[in-house]
């Protein structure tokens, strides 16, 4: 009898092992697929860093380009990107957050809300070159801003608007209903409740969304290529109506439209590396802020 029992156990064990093998195979397959994404990112980073790291220096980021951009640094290019994203955010945050407050707190289900929501979703799916052409037609030509920092910032603003609206709306909707109840039960008006309780509670989330949005905007090429970006400017812009150089467009220019493409190759990699560091840095900041606020949150 005990021999029978043993036999039975062995049999079970073998079957189990086969299942484990099958499971293990698929687990490893999925693991491999998962790492593919990470591997691609690392490969790009390594490739750009390997080719660009030796040109990075204090001079590279603080000097303007010289000798038909084959020498010197990319100072005006960095400043251009910073200015474009700064003015873009200055415009888009008030519009986006106000829209989100309307959507999250005031809008009533109905045709109007459906239309607004659908427009925002569709806007998010529009290719960025279309925003570029729109900016060209409206800001550059119709408003007569010309190719300028102003036209570029406004175009970037509408490009990133749907993103800012949806992240802000999510943060506002994540504020517990009980906070709202508590405020109203204290005799606060709806507007006081929004201003004193809901928006401050949602603020870290809204800011995180804005930082991640900024990172997206900083790397966009198509929206600025017809509206703001210059092939070359001797220095930093002195007014909103002057064109600017910008990191993503500069990479494009050096790689395709320059007269000394081979000679500028190190500068191309250096510019790309600068852009990646800038964008990844901002993403990292956003992610750190988000995880810190999640840890702090006690509701």
């Amino acid at each position: 009898m005990s021999a029978d029992r043993e036999k039975q156990d062995t049999f079970d064990l073998i079957r189990k092992k086969r299942i484990d093998l099958k499971q293990g195979f698929f687990l490893n397959l999925m693991r491999t697929m998962g790492f593919t994404g990470a591997f691609i990112l690392l490969a790009i980073l390594f490739f750009v860093a390997y080719n660009g790291i030796h040109i990075l220096s204090w001079e590279f980021i603080t000097q303007p380009p010289v000798d038909a951009m084959t020498k010197g640094g990319i100072f005006p290019v960095i400043i251009g990107t910073i200015l474009l994203t700064f003015f873009c955010m200055l415009v888009v945050i008030p519009i986006g957050v106000t829209t989100a407050i309307f959507l999250a707190e005031y809008s009533k289900p109905g045709v109007l809300l459906k239309m607004v929501m659908m427009s925002i979703y569709t806007l998010a799916g529009v290719p960025s070159v279309v925003f570029g052409l729109f900016g060209l037609a409206v800001f550059v030509v119709a408003f007569n801003f010309g190719m300028s920092l102003l036209a570029g910032s406004l175009t970037l603003a509408i490009t990133v608007l749907p993103y800012i609206i949806s992240t802000s709306e999510e943060s506002l909707k994540a504020v517990p209903y009980s906070f709202k109840e508590a405020s109203l039960a204290c005799g606060a008006t709806k507007w006081q409740t929004i201003r004193k309780v809901i928006v401050p509670t949602a603020m870290p989330g809204i800011l995180t969304g804005a930082i991640l949005g900024t990172a997206k905007v900083a790397g966009e090429t198509a929206p600025i290529m017809f509206t703001a970006a210059a092939f070359f400017t001797p220095g930093v812009p002195r007014s909103l109506l002057e064109p600017v150089m910008a990191l993503p467009y500069h990479i494009y220019v050096l790689a395709t439209a320059g007269t000394h493409i081979d000679e500028t190759r190190p500068i191309q990699y250096g510019t790309a590396l600068t852009l990646i560091v800038l964008v990844l840095g901002m993403n990292l900041l956003g992610i750190i802020l988000r995880s810190r606020q999640r840890k702090k949150r006690s509701w």
């Binding site: 906070f179 109840e181 109203l184 204290c186 005799g187 008006t189 004193k196 006690s298």
Partner: protein, 254 residues
Amino acid sequence: MVEKNALFEIRNFSIHYGDFLAVKNVTVNIEAHKITAIIGPSGCGKSTLLRALNRMNDLIVTAWVEGEALFHEVNIYHKDADVIELRKRVGMVFQKPNPFPNSVYENVAYGPKIRGIKKKSQLDEIVENALVRADLWKEVKDKLNESGMSLSGGQMQRLCIARSLAQEPEVLLFDEPTSALDPISTANIENLLQELQKTVTIVIVTHNMQQAARISKYTSFMYLGELVEFGDTDTIFVNPRNKLTEEYITGRFG
């Protein structure tokens, strides 16, 4: 019940959520400076009735009412009724303690601040006074700047009571205020309510019949949206007139 002492007079009052009739034709008076308890099984409409008293049901878009709810002889559902003033005078404490994610001080100062009181010394006085009345001052006086959410459950609930008291309300509505608390915190809150009724009229919804029996002067028993019985708590628990009430308080259903 003495008519002229009635602070709230509810007359043929019904509350609907869309097509659903949640509270059916209720007529009841709520007397000043007493504790009135509303008991009944889940879904009987007791919270809905309570929330009608300071119009917190307005937050639910589908809710609508029939009949009259008079507060100081004024219909609070009149189209020109000032809901903000009503909620200032009729405060509410919820089932789950819900302090704002701010300091203890800011939580209590919230109401006075939105009403435009800016002077620090005046705010300090209001905050201290409210915390003393909520029996929390001794425990938090050294940590007024710490987060209200760092307190224990029972302390948080007393903080919420203090937040309401800072408005000097005439009435406080309690929606099952102790159902999320441990027995000791519950006893603290019950003692506090006994003390508070000297200055504030209290209406409390509770699942806990012993609690109603311990602290309230009047009890109303609701079942399926109807007010089945209303009367002196002593009478209701010892000598209920209605068979349903008797079955509920003796634990035969609920």
